[in-house]
Structure formats: structure tokens, C-alpha cells
């Protein structure tokens, strides 16, 4: 039996899904979409049930990816039962989606969640009256406490096994509309195709000129494709593809023309249907809901007085961000170090074994300096990513993320972006990898792509560390902070400029709408935080693994062949040499170019590369930077800092962009854009500086 969970965002769908499926989940992506697809198998009374958690959505039109997915799933895959979840504390708007589902799907069970919250807000819902008003079963749940979840599933199974479909309530539209719907129904009743969907729904959609009406789709889960993509680096997950089989021409075009002439356009119909649904809801609402003291402030109201306050909102946000940053990027450092040390130790043990077995030297070096060093550098990120995502899930589930978007929206508006991009960009200061991953909350795919592509321009903590060491060496005293601030300012300006520029490139014509729900505050459950954290970390590891392994080996080969020569004569050194024609206009010598080439895997290594090239024995970043002062003028150092800050952060960020955007083209574009921008900016700074008479 196939059962689908549907509901508004934040109703507690994941809580129910996690409780029912436990660890037995498959997380992938919807074909061609950047939205997660979660499914799980459940065994109940010799029934095997496939439960699908559809993305949270406010309606079944085709406005966002989430809506399209939910609609396509219900239309094309026809689940046996739909479990529709409703937030009791916000039932009026939630029922709007329910009414749409009832029109489309004959077997629906309603799960009335958040009853505890509703109660504290003074809302009482009489479940039996609600069930009577809609004529479908209603089950009471408090998902966060695990209450009613099993009953919800049992009821869904019972409905799925019924001989006959339920006959849910039909929204009665105003008379004028009813006549038009009836006329369309009469026309459609003659076609064979029309029998597969509820007639009334078809008529409504035909009047709205829904393009999908009349199309027939085949579902294919091509096995070969599935297994092939399993081991490639960006496994799209559980691949279900829809293939268009045929498009049936439905009758009714003439009728639509007539209506159009009478002033009933597509928009007009849509508005009228929505209006009628809301009217219907307000009409039946008093039968099952009482709201005592609606004016009494709730917890959310009290908290928001501070959290969203024009004065306190920003300090609170900075405090929250500080905790997140401290937790993910500072407190995690010892774990990251432990991982690196563990890797180094394992490498030593392995190399010891290899030596004992008289394996050739180059294999030993490949294992130690290539595989373990390269993969270890990326693995050291993993604790950061995991902790960051735990915080991220916590903030998302608790409702704070929407508040941060509300407060940050003003700044994002300047760049033509959505308020939700704010958090992704701020996270970039910690590490660009989670910053790029945090774009998932953005609904509009183009906004999401832009946010992803500009994220690398924000200097992350390791880069800031290298930069401040170089700044301290070249610009002692208070001049240093001015230089550092000017660099940060430059990065801000470029982020803004790039956002506006990329909007043109990706042809983002429509200004993204910012109509966002501010959900009530919730206390997230442990399970809801830990399960997604685990999935994200695991999928990062799984997908990055092969790619990073290959890249590490390539870098190792380039930087250690021909064997036994100094660094500048290896292939990578040669590359730096060839590339010095790019560096020369910027005043860079070959050493800088070599360091830039080597920095591609992970930029924090740049200083140690420079240390080797400048022949500084010391390990400390301060002394390396000190040694550079003899070889470079401050202007050149500043130019270097600009280029260093702006070019690709690291291999892991590139892999993440590829994985999250699912497009090799856009990833290459991003890399190229970064490189070109950094060198162009470097050139401008260098020549501008010379013109102004700086040394």
C-alpha cells in the first residue's frame, strides 16, 4: 500500500514520518529537483506500506517546486491513501490545502496535530464535528510527544482497505460558478481520459486552464540509471522519472473562449475558487472551533516582542549567530583536529606496514601524502558540518530561522535576494560548505542558485586566519585593521554586485516574492534534529568521498612528480610557472602562483606552501608571513590578499556546489566566475594602487 503524508510546512510531518519509519528511511532527491524525497517502508499486520513524506506546501497549484512535486506525486503515482496533516493552532489556513486534497483524492485521513499548542492558545477543536463537516476520518495527534501517531497510521490503513472510496464533502461554489463547473463537467464526461480523476476536480482545473490536465504520464524507475548513478559523485538518490506518454486534447476550448469573453479569465477563475474555499472554511469553522480570548498574547507573541523588536532583534540575532558559530566552528575544532590526527596516525601505521612489506616508496607517499592528507583535510570538516547542521535543524524547527530571514531581509533586498539567503551568506563566514548547503530552505531555484554561487566570495574562518597573518606582517599596528576592514568591505561589495550580476545571468526576471510564514515557536524534538543531521553528514561523505579521493590523488601526482625535485620543479610547480603570465600583470612572482594553484584543495595550506617556497623552516604562520615581507611590497601583498580572498575557497565547496545545484555547467561557471573576478579585482587593485602612488 502506498501512503503519502501531505501538509503545510511546519505541521509536524517529519516528526510523524520519523516516528513511523525510524531509521528505515531513504532520502534522495526528486528527479530534476533540489527538494528532498523521503520515503520509508513500514510493516504492519502483514501489509507492506510505502510511506512518502511529501514536501510541505500551502496549496496544490504550480507556484513552487514543493507544490509541483506534491501535485505530481498525487496525480501521477496515485497513493492509495493521503494522510493530510493539519495544525490545530492554525486550522483555518491549513484547511485550505485540505479542501484541495479532498477534491483530488478520494481517500484522505486527517491528522489533527499540535493539539497541545492549540490548547494553550485557547483553541478547542471538536474533532467529531470536524470529521462530520468534511466527511472524512480525523485523528487527534500530538506528534512531538508521540501521541496518536500509530492510530493515525491504523486509520489510514483502514481507509486504504475499504471497498469503496470515501465521499468527502464538496465545497459549494457560488451559483454562477457552479453553473460553469457543471457545464464543463458535462463536456468532459464524454471523454475516456476523464474517468481517471474526480470529474469535479478536472472541471475546476480545466477552467483554470491547468496545463497538466489531459496529459498522461508513465512512471519509470529505470534500474540501470539507478545503479549507474549510485557510484557517481552526485547520486540523485531514489530516481523516479515521469515520462510523458501522450497529451489528450480535452473538449471545452470553445466554452473557455466564451467565458473569457464574459470576463472569466484564468486568473479570475483561480481567484474565485480560492475565495469560495476560504468562505466555505469560515462558514464551517464555528461548528468545530472555539477560540477563547483570541486577544490574549501567546508565548510566540511574547518572545517575538523581543526577538523581532527593532532594537533588540539584531543584538539577539548576533548572539544566536555567535552561539552557532562558536559551536560549529570553534568548539568543534578539537574534534576536527582529532580526526586529522587520527587520519595521520592511521596513515603512519599503514605506511609502516607498507614499508615492512617492501612496497615501493611512491606507493607509501601516495598513501600518506596523497590519499590520507587530501581526504583527511576534507574529513576534518565533517564535525563542523555535522554540528552546524544540528544547529541549523534546531533553528529551522524551532521557528527562529524564519525570524532571522525577517530581520535580514532588508539587506538581501538590496541584492535582489530573498530574506532566507541571509542565513546562508552569514554561515559562509564560518565555512562555505554548510553555507552552500543552507540554501536548501530557499524555495525559488534561481534564488537558490545565485545564493550558492556568491557564497564562495565570503571569506571563511580559515581564510580569514591566513589573511590576518599576512596583514599583521605587512601592515603592523592600526593600519592592519584598516586593511582588514577594507578587504571585508570589498568582499561585501562584490557579493552584492555579483548577486545583481548573476540575476541577469540566470535570467531571474521575477523579483522573488517575500511572503513567508512566521510559524509559532516550537521546541524541536531530539530525533527531528539528529536524523536530518545524520542524513546530511552521511550524504556529504558518501557523495564527496569518491570525488575528493580522485582529486587528492591528482593533486598528489602533480605535486610530487618528477620525483626528488624541489617543489617549483614539480608539475604543479611548472603549472605555477606557466601561469605566472597571468600573475605578472598583478605583480605576482611564480611562487605566489604556485601557492595559488596548491591552495585549490584547501586554502589554509597556502601559508605553508609559501613557507616552503620562500625557504622558511618555521611552521608558525607569523614567521612565514614575516619572511614574505622581504620579498614583496605592501601593495603586492594587498593584491595577493584580494586575490586570495576571492578565488575558490576549496575543493569541498566546489563539490558541494555541484551536489547541491546538480549541474556541472553551473559549477564550472561558478569556478570560472570566481577565478576571473579575483584576478580582475587583483589587477584593478594593483594598477589602481600604483596610479595612486602606493608602493
Amino acid at each position: 500500500m502506498k501512503i503519502a503524508l501531505v501538509g503545510n510546512p511546519n505541521v509536524g510531518k517529519s516528526t510523524v514520518f520519523n516516528a513511523l519509519t525510524g531509521s528505515n528511511q531513504q532520502v534522495g532527491n526528486w528527479a530534476g529537483k533540489t527538494v528532498e524525497r523521503k520515503s520509508g517502508l513500514i510493516q504492519r499486520a502483514n501489509q507492506e506500506i510505502e510511506l512518502i513524506d511529501l514536501p510541505g506546501t500551502y496549496s496544490l497549484t504550480a507556484y513552487s517546486q514543493e507544490e509541483i512535486i506534491t501535485r505530481e506525486y498525487i496525480l501521477r503515482e496515485k497513493p492509495d491513501v493521503v494522510m493530510a496533516m493539519v495544525d490545530a493552532s492554525n486550522i483555518e489556513r491549513n484547511l485550505y490545502l485540505v479542501l484541495q486534497i479532498l477534491e483530488l483524492s478520494p481517500r484522505v485521513v486527517i491528522g489533527l496535530n499540535m493539539l497541545d499548542l492549540a490548547q494553550t492558545a485557547g483553541i478547542t477543536i471538536r474533532t467529531s464535528e470536524l470529521a462530520a463537516a468534511l466527511n472524512v476520518p480525523v485523528v487527534e495527534i500530538v506528534a512531538a510527544k508521540g501521541k496518536g501517531i500509530e492510530e493515525f497510521l491504523t486509520e489510514a490503513i483502514r481507509v486504504g482497505e475499504l471497498e469503496q472510496d470515501l465521499s468527502p464533502v464538496e465545497v459549494s461554489y457560488p451559483k454562477e460558478l457552479e453553473q460553469k463547473i457543471q457545464a464543463m463537467e458535462d463536456l468532459l464526461a464524454k471523454t475516456k481520459w476523464a474517468t481517471r480523476y474526480p470529474m469535479r476536480w478536472l472541471a475546476l482545473k480545466r477552467l483554470e486552464r491547468d496545463p497538466e490536465i489531459g496529459q498522461e504520464w508513465k512512471i519509470s524507475t529505470s534500474q540501470s540509471r539507478k545503479s549507474k548513478s549510485k557510484d557517481s559523485c552526485c547520486d540523485p538518490g531514489d530516481v523516479v522519472n515521469y515520462e510523458l506518454l501522450e497529451t489528450v486534447v480535452l473538449p471545452g476550448d470553445d466554452l473557455l473562449q466564451t467565458y473569457e469573453a464574459e470576463g472569466w479569465s484564468k486568473d479570475h477563475f483561480e481567484m474565485a475558487f480560492a475565495d469560495a474555499k476560504y468562505k466555505y472554511i469560515s462558514h464551517i469553522l464555528p461548528r468545530f472551533r472555539t477560540h477563547e480570548n483570541p486577544a490574549k498574547p501567546t508565548w510566540t507573541d511574547l518572545l517575538d516582542r523581543w526577538v523581532l523588536s527593532p532594537i533588540w532583534g539584531y543584538p539577539i540575532m548576533f548572539a544566536v549567530l555567535a552561539v552557532v558559530f562558536w559551536g560549529s566552528f570553534v568548539a568543534s575544532a578539537p574534534i576536527g583536529d582529532a580526526v586529522s590526527q587520527g587520519m595521520a596516525w592511521t596513515a603512519d601505521v599503514l605506511v609502516g606496514l607498507l614499508r615492512w612489506g617492501h612496497v615501493p616508496d611512491f606507493v607509501q607517499s601516495l598513501v600518506r601524502d596523497g590519499i590520507f592528507a587530501g581526504v583527511g583535510a576534507v574529513l576534518a570538516f565533517v564535525p563542523q558540518i555535522a554540528i552546524f547542521f544540528a544547529f541549523f535543524s534546531f533553528m529551522q524547527d524551532s521557528g527562529y530561522l524564519a525570524r532571522a530571514a525577517f530581520l535580514g531581509d532588508r539587506f538581501m533586498q538590496l541584492m535582489g535576494l530573498h530574506g532566507k539567503s541571509f542565513f546562508s551568506l552569514v554561515s559562509g563566514f564560518g565555512c562555505n560548505v554548510p553555507g552552500i548547503m543552507a540554501t536548501r530552505t530557499l524555495e525559488d531555484p534561481k534564488d537558490r542558485l545565485i545564493t550558492m554561487l556568491i557564497n564562495p566570495l565570503i571569506p571563511c574562518v580559515p581564510r580569514l586566519g591566513v589573511m590576518s597573518a599576512v596583514v599583521a606582517a605587512f601592515f603592523p599596528g592600526s593600519r592592519g585593521s584598516v586593511v582588514m576592514l577594507s578587504l571585508l568591505f570589498l568582499s561585501m561589495i562584490l557579493v552584492m554586485f555579483s548577486a545583481l550580476f548573476l540575476r541577469r545571468v540566470v535570467k531571474q526576471t521575477e523579483r522573488s516574492a517575500f511572503v513567508m510564514e512566521l510559524p509559532l515557536y516550537h521546541i524541536p524534538t531530539m530525533r527531528n534534529v539528529l536524523i536530518p543531521t545524520w542524513h546530511k553528514t552521511y550524504s556529504f561523505l558518501k557523495r564527496a568521498w569518491t570525488f575528493i579521493l580522485v582529486a587528492s590523488i591528482v593533486v598528489w601526482v602533480l605535486s610530487s612528480y618528477p620525483q626528488g625535485v624541489p617543489m617549483n620543479e614539480t608539475w604543479a610547480g611548472d603549472m605555477g610557472g606557466w601561469l605566472s603570465f597571468i600573475g605578472r600583470p598583478l605583480g605576482f612572482d611564480w611562487r605566489i602562483m604556485v601557492a595559488i594553484v596548491f591552495g585549490f584543495t584547501a586554502k589554509e595550506t597556502t601559508l605553508s606552501t609559501l613557507g616552503i617556497l620562500y625557504g622558511v623552516a618555521a611552521d608558525a604562520s607569523q614567521s612565514i608571513a614575516q619572511a614574505m615581507t622581504g620579498a614583496m611590497t605592501p601593495l603586492r601583498a594587498f593584491t595577493f590578499l584580494v586575490v586570495y580572498m576571492l578565488y575558490i575557497p576549496c575543493l569541498a565547496s566546489v563539490v558541494t556546489t555541484y551536489k547541491e545545484s546538480g549541474s556541472l555547467g553551473w559549477t564550472s561557471f561558478g569556478v570560472a566566475y570566481n577565478l576571473i573576478l579575483s584576478f580582475v579585482m587583483g589587477w584593478i587593485v594593483f594598477h589602481g594602487g600604483m596610479l595612486l602612488g602606493f608602493q
Binding site: Y58, S59, T61, Y63, S89, N90, E92, R93, Y96, I123, D267, E270, M271, A274, D275, Y278, K279, S282, L285, P286, R289, T290, H291, E292, P294, T300, D304, L308, S309, P310, G313, A402, A405, F406, L407, D409, R410, Q413, G419, E510, R511, A513, F514, V515, M516, E517, L518, P519, L520
Partner: protein, 88 residues
């Protein structure tokens, strides 16, 4: 008296009269429950021209000022009746 939603002061209420423009934005507003006749309350405005927090149907929505300027509202005089209905 007709006004734009964006002109309301925090704490003021009004009823939606109609929504200008069309396309995705309007549909989105519709999905969130902003249809003619609905009562809205502006709760607060983010500083420096940031978005507005609006309350409707017992929940909260954040909207930019540009979007609020598309919503024409009239004075809320049905307030009383609605409360009566709700507590019936």
C-alpha cells in the same frame, strides 16, 4: 476609506478589499489566505524599510513593503461580527 496595507501603523487592522497585479505573487498571497474580505493586522515593521509582520486568521506572515503596497484595504468594521462568529 481605502488605503494600502503598507500604510497601516503597527497595531492597526483593516480588511482586504482587493489585490493588485496578478501572476505568481497574487496566487501566493491567495494560498496564504489573503483574499478579499479577510481581516489583517499589522503587528510590526522591521527597521530601515524592512518587511512587515502581519497577522491574519490567527497566524503570522512576513511580507515586504512592496508586496504590501499591492494590497488595498478598507477600515475594519466587521471586527465585532467576526468575534461573535468565532465564539459562537
Amino acid at each position: 476609506m481605502k488605503r494600502l496595507l503598507g500604510d497601516l501603523k503597527p497595531g492597526e487592522r483593516a480588511c482586504v478589499e482587493h489585490i493588485e497585479g496578478g501572476g505568481a505573487l497574487r496566487r501566493r498571497m491567495m494560498d496564504m489566505g489573503i483574499v478579499p474580505g479577510v481581516e489583517l493586522e499589522v503587528v510590526r515593521r522591521a527597521p530601515w524599510g524592512g518587511p512587515l509582520q502581519v497577522r491574519l486568521k490567527g497566524y503570522y506572515l512576513a511580507m515586504r513593503r512592496g508586496e504590501c503596497a499591492k494590497i488595498i484595504v478598507t477600515e475594519a468594521h466587521q471586527e465585532h461580527r467576526e468575534h461573535l462568529l468565532a465564539s459562537r
